[in-house]
Symmetry: C2
């Protein structure tokens, strides 16, 4: 078997060295939908703007324009990212007149970030 044969089935049929180890490892992985879910949360935290928004909201409930001021961004850019964070239930908001006050909806996120920060500060 060589790479020319593999061209017919580009993904799932590469050379395998240790079939037993591959099978055992594969069996221990989370299912594909759980993996996507985990990656999805990490991805949200992986953008500096979104991370700053979350770090700010961990400290205080804030309206959109104050949030923009805190993280040195624009109202529009912040609003777009708030939508993503809201849709994944990481944050929530309440309306008060014209204002929208955003806050953390998911308390586990703070622990997650704290854990990583502790690690990086070792």
């Amino acid at each position: 078997m060589n790479y020319i044969m593999n061209k017919l089935a580009p993904v799932c049929e590469v050379q395998i060295i240790d079939r037993v180890k591959v099978k055992k490892t594969k069996a221990k992985l989370p299912h594909s939908d759980e993996t996507s879910q985990i990656a999805g949360i990490f991805k949200l935290l992986g953008d500096p703007t979104r991370l700053k928004i979350i770090l700010a909201l961990i400290e205080n409930e804030l309206c959109v324009c104050d949030l923009a001021a805190v993280i040195n961004s624009t109202v529009s850019a912040v609003s777009h990212q708030l939508r993503l964070l809201k849709s994944e239930k990481l944050i929530k908001f309440r309306k008060d007149g014209k204002m929208a006050y955003y806050s953390i909806d998911d308390n586990h996120i703070k622990n997650l970030i704290d854990q990583l920060r502790e690690h990086l500060n070792e």
Copy 2:
């Protein structure tokens, strides 16, 4: 002050509602370089291919082609992502003849992923 004035300085001069709160919140944020560092790690974990690689390596030390087989990807795609994970010291590798065996270099990562998984499975 209105939006037309802000066009001259598009970022740092938006309307601020509560200056005290903004200043206090700003003071509590991590410095910009620490924020980038945190986001950088989360970003690496935020891609399904890279996350699967890490999940697989948590279970077993694996060579590149077995890793590709485990996560149903190609050797080349995996190799490219391994480079990124290696450069951020999340994984390491040892050479054995033609083979390269990769493994986890950062034990905190497992805890981080476990913590998120526990949270999602509530």
